[in-house]
Symmetry: C2
Subunit: 353 residues, 2 copies
């Protein structure tokens, strides 16, 4: 379908036995790769948002386990399996909301259990980390095709935050649908919320779309409702950090407001996420832990105080969109329209054969 | 009611025969008063947002007419009335959406028509400008009392942009209600949207509330819906730049989205504005001209580019909230609950007597 033309950006690379991450705190001003040589550096990179985006966090954590296994095995080949537990805990504590992190750690933990005593754990763990990354990219391309099929073009699209190549193993979830829809001629104009406080839209989504030759028009987060009232936007397309068993969606703060506005305006609301984002152990959105970050992320920008001295801030970085406001959840396993517990169960049920 | 304790901030002053404006572009970093000696400087101050807020723009324009009359009368005492027309036009062209500007110019124009030939126009025009400013302050105090009476406390409030002392002759419209409600013990916590792109909430509302000893908690514009979902906010309280004859409200971009979210959460939506903001000549919100400002206001912050190079932006600075989403419009003439054309007509009808 010619998707390659719109798919050049990558943010996670394994080079010379180390994990390299495109530092997303510095984009778009600088394209600097940060090299992580041990698990402490990986956990810190996740915590400080060098890397962000639910699938990208999961992939990064998987490579972090590889680095941890290498170090623990070098320390004591007989005891690495016990010693690595604290590294897994440290990675798990780096961010609370995105479930892909815990999913990836669970996959790595299963692999750890299968490695024979005395065998160097790095090669098998590296192979699984590579597979997680490759599967994510393949899932995104498939979701791009599926999601684009829902868009009767040419339609204007609105996205929020960054659910793109930077947030995944490549191609993106929401931006994968945008890329595929652009490649298929289904898109008029791509709008992106700037996404305060971290400006993922203005800094990251705009950067990666422009890198891939896709024009993008930014709007203030508060302008989205008025944009929808102008009646050109037909779909809001977003990613997810965790989807509960009933189809409730945790995603970047601001997503829920968009869903409310989309419903009012008859605009479709599409959530694009790999099945590793779906947490069948969490019954509904009220049970999803929502991370609140430092007030200063809102009160300052680029190290400069913007708010009046003395002002406080409330800085939740995710919110929960109830399933009833979601038109479709697009996963690599298929599309769930009007999601609810039964439909999510059907999607996630082990297939026969 | 002890309102004075919470009412120290002023932004417009006539000193030594000149108009002085607290430069709102520089707050909260600097408190710098800009002196305007002629009408060109006044029009430029409005255009460049040294002064902003619908009532404040009206008051400023009225004083601008005083300065214009002084200069035109000095140039040619026989021809000032003709010559001042271009000054009125220039002031009228400074901002398009706030109707208080055109209302104040109409009041000044009526006064101009009553001044006898050969008489120095400055004293009578100055007296009217002073009256416009004083009436605005009195209206705000009255609206504060009326609006606060709607709030069963202690309730958390959410405001947007800056409809405070800085936006008016003093006390504020929406923030007048906040001040009065705080003074009357009706308020739990005051939340303010930061209000991108110009950050009126973070820079101005936070500054003036803290100056007056009222604690304030900032939220990202995109966090308002999630805040309402937490069920502590009971009223959204905002100002207005123009209210149409059917009760539709033009106000700072983001207001419409808040109204949609407030309706979903059963949160009251209160619009506070003097009757000079009501434009009975405009049938409904679709006829209100909505200003779109330079893309750079969104793409940059404090002179620093924040968006990725190549990104475009759509920067409407107001939006329109349909009357059906408004719980109450509070004016100095009284409260209109569930506004519609008949109720607005009744409010604005000349009273007998």
């Amino acid at each position: 379908m010619g998707y390659e033309r719109f798919d050049k950006v990558r943010a996670i690379a394994w080079r010379a036995g180390r994990l390299e991450l495109l530092d997303q705190r510095l984009l778009p001003d600088q394209c600097l790769w940060l090299r992580c040589s041990d698990v402490l550096e990986v956990a810190e990179a996740i915590r400080t948002m060098v890397v962000r985006g639910a699938p990208a966090i999961g992939i990064t954590a998987a490579y972090g386990v590889v680095l941890a296994a290498r170090a623990r095995y070098a320390e004591d080949p007989a005891d690495w399996r016990r010693a690595i537990e604290s590294d897994l805990d440290r990675l798990a504590a780096s961010r609370p909301t995105a479930v892909n992190l815990f999913w990836a750690l669970a996959v790595m933990r299963e692999t750890i259990a299968t490695i024979p005593d005395g065998e160097d754990p790095e090669p098998p763990l590296f192979a699984v980390a590579e597979r997680i990354a490759a599967d994510d990219l393949a899932a995104n391309r498939r979701m791009g095709r599926l999601g684009a099929s829902l868009i009767d073009g040419p339609a204007d699209l609105l996205t929020h935050c960054n659910a793109g190549s930077l947030a995944t193993g490549g191609f993106g979830t929401a931006l994968g649908v945008v890329r595929a829809a652009v490649a298929e001629g289904r898109v008029g104009r791509v709008y992106a919320d700037e996404t305060r406080p971290w400006l993922q839209g203005a800094r990251l989504t705009a950067w990666e779309l422009i890198e891939d030759g896709i024009p993008v028009t930014l709007v203030a987060d508060g302008a989205a409702a008025y944009l929808m009232a102008q009646k050109t936007v037909r779909w809001v397309v977003v990613g997810a950090d965790r989807i509960a068993a009933n189809g409730d969606v945790a995603n970047k703060i601001g997503t829920y407001g968009l869903a409310v506005q989309a419903r009012r305006h008859g605009v479709g609301f599409m959530v694009v996420a790999p099945s590793s984002t779906i947490d069948m152990a969490t019954a509904d959105g009220t049970a999803i832990p929502i991370e609140t970050r430092d007030e200063d992320e809102l009160l300052s920008l680029a190290g400069r105080r913007i708010a009046a001295p003395g002002a406080q801030a409330w800085n939740p970085v995710f919110d929960v969109t109830p399933a009833e406001l979601v038109t479709a959840i697009v996963t690599e396993k298929g599309i769930v329209e009007s999601p609810d517990a039964a439909a999510m169960q059907a999607l996630m049920a082990p297939t026969a054969g």
